[in-house]
Subunit: 459 residues, 2 copies
C-alpha cells in the first residue's frame, strides 16, 4: 500500500502542481477586507478537495467577523492512531507589488520554484498533506485516522481556530498533530522542532513626584522616574546577559543531549550572524553558544520607553512617570505566572529613592517542549530520511507559535512541528517562492509519516 501511494504521488506530480497553482491563484489575504470573499473561496476550495478524496468536512464560521475554519476527519481505522494536520490558507498582503518579478497571484515557475504569495507560507505545505491523504485514499485508504484543521487567520493572529479547538476538544482528540509551517535548516537538511520559547510581556511603570518638575529648581532632590527605571532595567539583567529575578532559572530544563548534538552539527556561523544583524558582537550569556541562547535560554528585552520629553531641543523637565515595555522569553519549564510574581516583588527593590515601581502583565505564552522522544519524532525522522535522504536535525524556535500551545492544551496531542520551505523562500516579502521538488518530496514525506505512525502505534 505504501509503495502504491508513493507511486501515485510520483505519477501525479503534474496534477499536484496544477492543484497548487489553483490554490495560489486565490488572493486569500486575511488582513484586507477587500479579500474577505477570496479567503472564503480558498477555504471552499479546500473543502471541496478534501470531500472529493473521501473526508468528512465542515466549513465552520467560528466568529462572525473572522475567516472560516476547515475541519475534516476520516476515522476509518479504528484502533489506529489519529493524526491531525494543521495548515493556514490565508496569506500575507503582497505589497510592495512593484517588487514582484511576476504577479503575486499568478503562479509562475522559474528554475524549479513556483513564485506566488503563500506558496511557502503556507499553501504549498499543507497541500502536501492533502495530496498525501489523497494518494493513500487511492491506495486502499490511509493507515491512520486523519484530521485536517486549516485556518484562515494565522497571519492576523485570529481566535477562530484556537476557540474552535478549545470548544470542540472532546471530539477532536488526536494522537499526533503535524504542523508544517517552517522550513529546512539548510538545503538538504530537514528539521523537527523540539521546543518553543514562551513569553511574559510586561509594562514596568515608575512614578516620582506628583507632577513634572523643573530640573533647575528640583534637580538634586527630586526622584527621577527615568533614572530609577534605568536602575531597574539594568538591575534586571546584567551586562553578562544574566537575569537576576529571584528563582528565575530554577525551573529551566537544559536541552537534551540529542538536541545539543544536533545543534553542534548545524551550519550556523557566528560571523555570518553578526554580519546579518550588522553588529560587531553578539550579546548574551557568553558561556552558552549563540544557538543555545536563542532557543534554550530565557532572555529579557526592553522594547520601548514611554513618557517624559521626547521633542526636539532641550526641555529640562523631571517627569512624574516613566513606563517601559519589557518582555522575557521563557523556556521549558518556566511558568510565566511564577516569573511575573517574582518580578513584581523584585523590581521595586531596584528603584532609586522616592520612586515607586509597578509591574503590569500584558501578555503571556507558555514555553513548549514538543518532546525529543515520543514515537512521532522517530516516525518523522524515518519519513524524512526516506523522502529526502537526510535525517532531520532537532531544532527549537525562539519565538512562540501560539497555535502549537492551543493544540497541546486542547487536544493533548504529541506534536510534530517541521516544514518543507527552504532558506531564501522570502516569506512575507516580495517574490515569495517554494521549491516544487520540496513540495513533491514533502508529499512523499507525509505519505511515509502516516505509514510510520501506523507502525509506531503497532509497536
Amino acid at each position: 500500500m505504501l509503495e502504491q501511494a508513493i507511486q501515485h504521488a510520483r505519477e501525479g506530480r503534474d496534477q499536484a502542481e496544477k492543484d497548487l497553482f489553483d490554490l495560489l491563484a486565490i488572493p486569500s489575504v486575511s488582513a484586507l477586507p477587500e479579500h474577505r470573499a477570496d479567503c472564503r473561496r480558498a477555504a471552499e476550495w479546500l473543502v471541496q478537495r478534501l470531500r472529493a478524496i473521501g473526508m468528512e468536512v465542515e466549513l465552520v464560521d467560528v466568529h462572525e467577523a473572522g475567516h472560516p475554519v476547515v475541519s475534516a476527519q476520516w476515522l476509518g481505522r479504528p484502533g489506529a492512531p489519529t493524526l491531525a494536520i494543521y495548515g493556514h490558507y490565508d496569506v500575507q498582503p503582497p505589497d510592495p507589488l512593484d517588487e514582484w518579478a511576476s504577479p503575486p497571484f499568478e503562479p509562475a515557475v522559474r528554475d524549479g520554484f513556483v513564485y506566488a504569495r503563500g506558496s511557502d507560507d503556507n499553501k504549498g505545505q499543507h497541500l502536501a498533506g492533502v495530496k498525501a491523504a489523497e494518494h493513500w485514499f487511492r491506495s486502499g485508504g490511509p493507515p491512520v485516522n486523519l484530521r485536517f484543521l486549516i485556518e484562515g487567520e494565522e497571519e492576523i493572529s485570529g481566535r477562530s481556530l484556537p476557540d474552535f479547538l478549545h470548544q470542540n476538544a472532546g471530539r477532536l482528540q488526536s494522537d499526533y498533530v503535524f504542523i508544517a509551517d517552517g522550513g529546512f535548516t539548510a538545503p538538504g537538511l530537514p528539521n523537527v522542532l523540539t521546543g518553543l520559547r514562551g513569553l511574559l510581556y510586561t509594562e514596568i511603570e515608575v512614578t516620582g513626584a506628583r507632577v513634572d518638575l523643573h530640573s533647575g529648581i528640583f534637580g538634586g532632590v527630586a526622584p527621577n522616574p527615568f533614572n530609577s527605571l534605568a536602575h531597574v532595567i539594568a538591575g534586571l539583567k546584567g551586562r553578562d546577559g544574566r537575569i537576576t529575578i529571584p528563582g528565575f532559572y530554577d525551573p529551566v530544563v537544559p536541552p537534551a543531549d540529542s538536541e545539543l548534538e544536533s545543534w553542534r552539527s548545524l551550519p550556523i556561523n557566528e560571523e555570518e550572524q553578526k554580519q546579518a544583524m550588522g553588529v560587531s558582537e553578539l550579546d548574551g550569556e557568553a558561556e552558552f553558544s549563540p544557538v543555545e541562547r536563542k532557543w534554550a535560554r530565557p532572555t529579557l528585552d526592553v522594547h520601548g520607553v514611554i513618557g517624559g520629553f521626547t521633542g526636539e531641543g532641550s526641555k529640562t523637565v523631571i517627569p512624574a512617570r516613566a513606563r517601559a515595555k519589557v518582555s522575557m522569553r521563557l523556556v521549558p519549564d518556566q511558568d510565566p505566572e511564577a516569573v511575573f510574581a517574582s518580578l513584581q516583588r523584585f523590581a521595586p527593590t531596584l528603584a532609586t529613592r522616592g520612586t515607586k515601581v509597578t509591574v503590569r502583565k500584558l501578555n503571556v505564552a507558555d514555553p513548549v517542549r514538543t518532546g525529543t522522544d515520543h514515537p512521532g519524532v522517530e516516525a518523522a525522522a524515518r519519513a524524512f530520511e526516506a523522502a529526502y535522504g537526510a535525517r532531520p536535525v532537532l531544532v527549537r524556535e525562539g519565538g512562540s507559535i501560539p497555535v502549537a500551545i492551543d493544540f497541546r492544551n486542547a487536544l493533548g496531542a504529541h506534536m510534530i512541528v517541521t516544514g518543507f520551505g527552504l532558506p531564501g523562500d522570502a516569506l512575507h516579502s516580495p517574490n515569495e517562492r517554494y521549491s516544487l521538488d520540496q513540495y513533491h518530496r514533502g508529499t512523499e514525506m507525509v505519505i511515509r509519516l502516516m505509514h510510520e505512525l501506523a507502525g509506531a502505534r503497532a509497536d
Copy 2:
C-alpha cells in the same frame, strides 16, 4: 542728599503707584503676535519716563522680528562706579482668563497687593529702579553713573538683549549689574544670589543591529539598545546620587562658609518639600543637605527616552536604536565643555556588548558665581537692612539665568541678583500680584544701594 531722595520717595508713593498701574495696563505679552504693538508701547513708555528724569535713552531694534531693547545711560559722575539696572517689560500670557478675580491688565488693589499680569514679573521690580533714579535726580543727581538695560524678550528667551550686550560690550562697561527679578525667601527675609548652576544638555544615542529585530528569533544574541542605554544611564549616576563621569567633581568649589551659614538659617523644611512634591523620600546625595543638593551640587537627570515600540499592547521588537535626553546641572567651577568631553569618552564604556554609544551636545550654560565678597554684596546687604530691617540671606539658584551669564561675559560686571517679590505672588499664573509695600521699600533699597555703591567705590 540720600535723606532727600528717601524723602522724595516717601512723599511720592501715590505717584509711584500711578506710574506702576500705567505700565501694568499695557498688555505687553511678548509671546503673542497680536500684542506686538503693546510691547513697543511699554518700551516707549519706559523711554519717555527715563528721558523725563534725565537719562540719555535709545530704543534699539536689535532684531527685526524681536521686541526693542531700552538702553539708557547717565554718566554724570566721572570717577564714580557705574551701576547697570536690568529689567524686562514683557510679560507672560494671562490665560486662563476666567481664573482671574480682576482683569489681568486692569490693575486692582486688594489688601495691599496690586493684582495684574507682570506686576511682580517684572514691571514692579525694574520700576523700583527707575523710581529710585528719579528721586536721586530730584535730589542733586545719582551718586553713581547709571545704565538701564530693559528688554522685551525675557519670557520668550529672545536674543535681542544678549546680542545687544555682546555687540556693544565696549561702550556698556559697568562695575555692577543689578538684577531684581526674583523674590524674598520668606516675608521679611530678603536674599542676594551668590551662584547659579550651569547646564550641559545632551542626547545619548545607543545603536544595536542595523534594523529592528524580532525578539523571539534574536532575543539572547541581539544587542538591545534600550537595555544598553539603561546600563549607561544607571552607570552614570548611582543609587546614591553620585555621578561617575571621570573628573566630574574635581573642579567643584564648595560653598563659602557664609553661604552655608545662611542656608542653615533658611526656613526650609524637608518634610514640607516632600509633601509639596508628593514623594515619600527625597533623592540625591544623602551626605549633603537638600538645599546644598539643589544649589551647590551638580546633578544628572534623564528627561525622556525616544525610540522603540511605545504603542498599546505588546510588540516584540528589539529596536535598532534608542536615544535619551540627559542633562547635567553644573556648579562653579565646572566647565560644561570639559564635562561633555569626559562624558563622551566615558559613556561608551558603560554600554553592553555589540551596542554603540554616541553623545551629542544640545545646550550648555556656564555655572555662575556672582561672588559672596565683592563690595556690591555688602552694599546690597546694608541697603536691604535699612529699607526692610533685615539683612539678606545668601542664596543660590538651581537653574540658570541666561541673561546673568551674558552680563558677566559681555560687561564683566559684579552682579547683584535679588528681588522684591514675595512667595505667593503667582508668577506666570492667574492672579499674579505684587506687594505695594515691597515696591516702595524696594525703591528705597535701590536708592540706598546707589548710595552704598558710591561709598564702596570711595573705600
